[in-house]
Symmetry: C2
Subunit: 206 residues, 2 copies
DNA sequence: TACCTTACAGAACGATTATTCAATAATCAA
DNA sequence: TTGATTATTGAATAATCGTTCTGTAAGGTA
């Protein structure tokens, strides 16, 4: 937590709420992707003038980077909470992750699927850096999952012949596929059946 | 097969090879997606003048529609061949599908992943029809897989308590996830391990 | 009060977008 | 050879892209 009573910066104070604007921008990039979202769209949606957005975020790529962090701090934190919950068994943690994916990917109030998986999959060479930002986040999330599975394996929660790295990649793959399914209109119940099937034959220790 | 010696249309004959141009366009849209691929890019890559492309395909959306059919007639046909092969058991067919996905999604000569899953996932409202074209293809492919599983179930190849629709959606989800994994740099061996783990969930009849 | 700093609003920027026009070229049927 | 039809080329179209400039407003500090 930064100090609430922080020294006010000199100059005219910012009038627009940064997080509120980012929340609007998150929805837009989430729905349309990076390249298909124009600065004009962002200005219209946030109600913040273009020059103000540039002053705050440098350029479109900078705004997108801030949007990624905003999404991570809100939606991703909620999605991955079971993985970081020490009270849960490894199986419960993965089950919780997939079930949250099912509900969150099909949540009516937000665009379908996961922002990290849809916002910049295929992109022009000029925006390759943008694609990379999201790819790094995806890879980091997968690593987090694999680490959790490795801890579980170390505590004897997984069958001895199970490779946590492969299992983690598999779970992550199913989740990425669930995002595509959600984009194509899959209901929460369909997503839950998919998650259930992925959890079937869980390689528990004997 | 249309007649080879078809009556020549009146007027100046087309000089550029339509399929060759479409093959180039496939790669471009596959790599960059619909919106991030400009007509200028397509002109540079195919070597065909803009006006000629418009004469042949009406507009960018029409060209993209032709590109979809070209991809379906080449890559998709190869990918789904095991599903349509009556000599294979249901298990062998699905195994063949997933293994072809693993190798084709990581094939060095082509963009990573599957065109149908990456070329237009998040798109501007103006191009919503484009997104729909691909979604319809994805849903049709899933239906094809489910039909194959239903035939297998009817022949007693699946466990009695297995819902072919759920199993098909699960297999399809894994394949969609594998496309994202391939885009993020997964090797063919990693993709094969994922496919293997999905097949471990296979509900064979007792 | 007078500075200094930052943020605002709106117009303007050059570059790029998808698309079309006008002129010419190549084939067929007569 | 003449006319009809279609393709090609290269320039030109209006609209939109991300970005920046200009002038003014709103806060601090002295």
């Amino acid at each position: 937590m930064t100090e609430t009573k922080a020294r006010r910066r000199a100059g005219r104070p910012r009038v627009f709420d940064t997080d509120a604007a980012l929340d609007k921008a998150v929805r837009l990039f989430w729905q349309r992707g990076y390249e298909a979202t124009s600065m004009a769209d962002l200005v219209a949606e946030t109600g913040v003038a273009a020059a103000s957005l540039y002053a705050a975020f440098d350029n479109k790529a900078g705004l997108f980077a801030a949007v990624i962090e905003r999404y991570a701090a809100t939606f991703s934190v909620h999605l991955y909470a079971p993985i970081n919950d020490p009270a849960l068994s490894t199986y419960e943690a993965v089950k919780g992750l997939l079930e949250r994916a099912a509900s969150s990917f099909s949540e009516p109030g937000t665009p379908a699927g996961c922002f990290m998986y849809s916002a910049a999959v295929a992109v022009s060479p000029a925006s390759a850096a943008i694609e990379c930002l999201l790819r790094d986040k995806r890879i980091a999330a997968e690593a987090l999952l694999i680490e959790r599975l490795q801890r579980g394996a170390a505590q004897g929660e997984l069958a001895a012949n199970t490779d946590p790295a492969v299992l983690g990649k598999f779970i992550n793959t199913v989740m990425e596929g669930m995002s595509v399914q959600a984009r194509d209109g899959a209901t929460i119940n369909e997503l839950l059946s998919i998650a259930k099937m992925a959890l079937d034959r869980w390689p528990a220790a004997i």
